[in-house]
């Protein structure tokens, strides 16, 4: 079971020579199967780049990423992705959008239709299957994006700040929806976010990243059992963990600006 996703001394350097920018600098971590890992860090710290490298959407400049014993060299069929934007195709209905991966990967459509409809029910979009994205709210669109990521039943879900464009209330709602989904379909999840509370609320482990060049400075276990609900927000441990994470990020930030000034 151990070591489902192995990220080993991964680096990402954009450009070369004098213009070289080191976005990710020697990151290593291990994700176990069924684990939900939040990658927490300030905006533009290279955490999205790291996620994209795990999905095979960006090549690594050094180091290796291995999923289930196989080195990642390109996109894999058993990975579902979610972006900050719902990225629905505006001319397709909700159902067609959810079935888009099925169509692209040439899977039997009839077989997945049923599953797509079940997913629509589960995320509370009953009756919206034939609507177009512009008729939905931002939260509803992200629900459709979740369904689309899950429709082919991937083993891994990569989420790149999927709720950061939503308003605070919708975001809380989506976090609860994601917890629900996690109970039902246990995947291995990597979830990039810059919200400390969101990371602690959702994840089993929180990896804290620094600003560019990004490295992981802490790997914090979140002790709350599942199923979780909003009540853990008031738990003393919850706030302790959040404080600890905040201090880690702030400490690094000041350290960083001091080295800049020197």
């Amino acid at each position: 079971m151990a070591g489902y996703i192995l990220v080993d001394h991964v680096k990402k350097i954009y450009n070369s020579g004098k213009d070289a920018v080191e976005a990710v600098s020697g990151v290593s971590f291990v994700a176990n199967k069924g684990e939900f890992i939040a990658i927490l860090g300030p905006s533009g710290c290279g955490k999205s780049t790291l996620l994209m490298m795990c999905g095979g959407l960006e090549p690594t400049s050094a180091g290796t990423i291995t999923i289930d014993g196989q080195q990642v060299t390109g996109p894999r069929a058993n990975v579902g992705v979610m972006f900050q934007d719902s990225t629905l195709l505006p001319w397709k209905t909700v159902l067609e959008n959810i079935l888009f991966p099925v169509k692209i990967q040439r899977r039997p459509l009839a077989q997945y239709r049923e599953r797509a409809l079940q997913l629509i029910e589960m995320v509370g979009l009953h009756g919206f299957a034939d609507m177009k994205p512009h008729q939905l709210s931002g939260g509803m669109r992200q629900r459709v994006a979740i369904c689309r990521a899950l429709v082919t039943d991937p083993d891994i879900l990569l989420m790149d700040e999927p709720f950061s464009a939503l308003d605070a209330m919708t975001r809380d709602e989506m976090n609860d929806a994601l917890l629900d989904i996690w109970e039902r379909y246990r995947k291995t999840g990597l979830f990039v976010t810059h919200s400390i509370r969101e990371a602690v609320y959702l994840a089993d482990r929180v990896l804290v990243m620094t600003r560019r060049p990004a490295t992981i400075i802490a790997d914090i276990k979140v002790p709350f059992s599942r199923p979780r609900d909003a009540s853990i927000n008031n738990h003393a441990d919850f706030n302790d963990i959040c404080d600890q994470l905040r201090r880690l990020i702030e400490h690094k930030r000041t350290a960083w600006s001091e080295t800049k000034a020197a």
Binding site: G74, L89, I104, K132
Partner: protein, 261 residues
């Protein structure tokens, strides 16, 4: 407040402004034109009065119909060919990097040529037949379609492209299911330009060599000093232009309805 005064206070609906103001301006210009011609006594060979133009319609209706049909049908045909050719070129250049790198610089250099200046060459090569005028018109109007459609193909939503990449979509799948639909609005703006360009191309072709068509008719009217007929022909050209322009506008409306449900 009584109901009587309420109806008096009723604001003029916005549509009345939008339609009424340009109409009032149009009438004012015509009246001004008429008065200016009559008061200055300027020769109708130089500037005919609006009433002269209207009167000439009656006497040359048959001619206008005949020549208008020749120009209109050729312009329509040129427009259709421009769209087909323009889209085909855009799809080829948008899909194949090799084709893009080979042809695009040449195409841009080509654009620098004022293409109307090439019209005599087409006559030289293709003679007085309609092929010559069609080639001239298509040559002028296909490029806006190509350029606009290609821009659209390149402007497809970055995240949607990422999604395709993540799903392991082939180049062709991405092209057909994401890039082409995103290019549609751009294509229509290109087609609108082509609609106006194709009629220009045909008329220029007719100026140079034709034995029918409004361009030909206008040159003849000019040489006879029948300026009112010239103006009448211009009016017919406007109608043809409007008709051609409505085609892509209406097509875009249909596509948008399908797109937005």
């Amino acid at each position: 407040m009584t109901s009587g005064s309420a109806s008096q206070d009723k604001p003029i609906p916005e549509a009345a402004y939008a339609l009424g103001l340009p109409l009032v301006l149009g009438v004012a210009v015509l009246v001004g034109w008429q008065l200016a011609v009559r008061l200055t006594g300027i020769s109708p060979v130089i500037v005919p009065a609006p009433t002269d133009i209207v009167r000439s319609f009656g006497s040359i209706a048959g001619d206008l119909l005949h020549h208008g049909w020749a120009t209109g049908s050729e312009a329509l045909f040129a427009f259709i060919l421009s769209v087909l050719f323009g889209v085909a070129a855009a799809l080829l250049l948008g899909f194949s990097t090799l084709a893009f790198e080979t042809f695009y610089p040449g195409l841009v250099v080509f654009q620098i040529i004022p293409k109307i200046a090439l019209a005599p060459l087409f006559t030289f090569w293709l003679g007085i037949a309609s092929t010559s005028r069609l080639s001239c018109a298509v040559f002028i109007s296909f490029f806006p379609v190509t350029l606009a459609t290609m821009t659209g193909l390149k402007r497809a939503d970055v995240n949607a492209l990422r999604l395709c990449q993540a799903l392991g979509a082939s180049r062709l799948q991405t092209f057909v299911s994401v890039q082409i639909p995103y290019a549609l609005p751009y294509f229509f703006s290109g087609a609108k330009v082509a609609a106006t360009m194709s009629i220009i191309g045909i008329v220029v072709g007719e100026f140079i060599s034709a034995n029918a068509g409004l361009g030909y008719y206008m040159l003849r009217a000019q040489s006879y000093g029948e300026t009112a007929h010239l103006f009448a022909a211009i009016l017919v050209l406007c109608c043809i232009g409007l008709f051609l322009y409505i085609i892509p506008v209406q097509a875009e409306r249909w596509v948008r309805r399908w797109w937005w449900n």
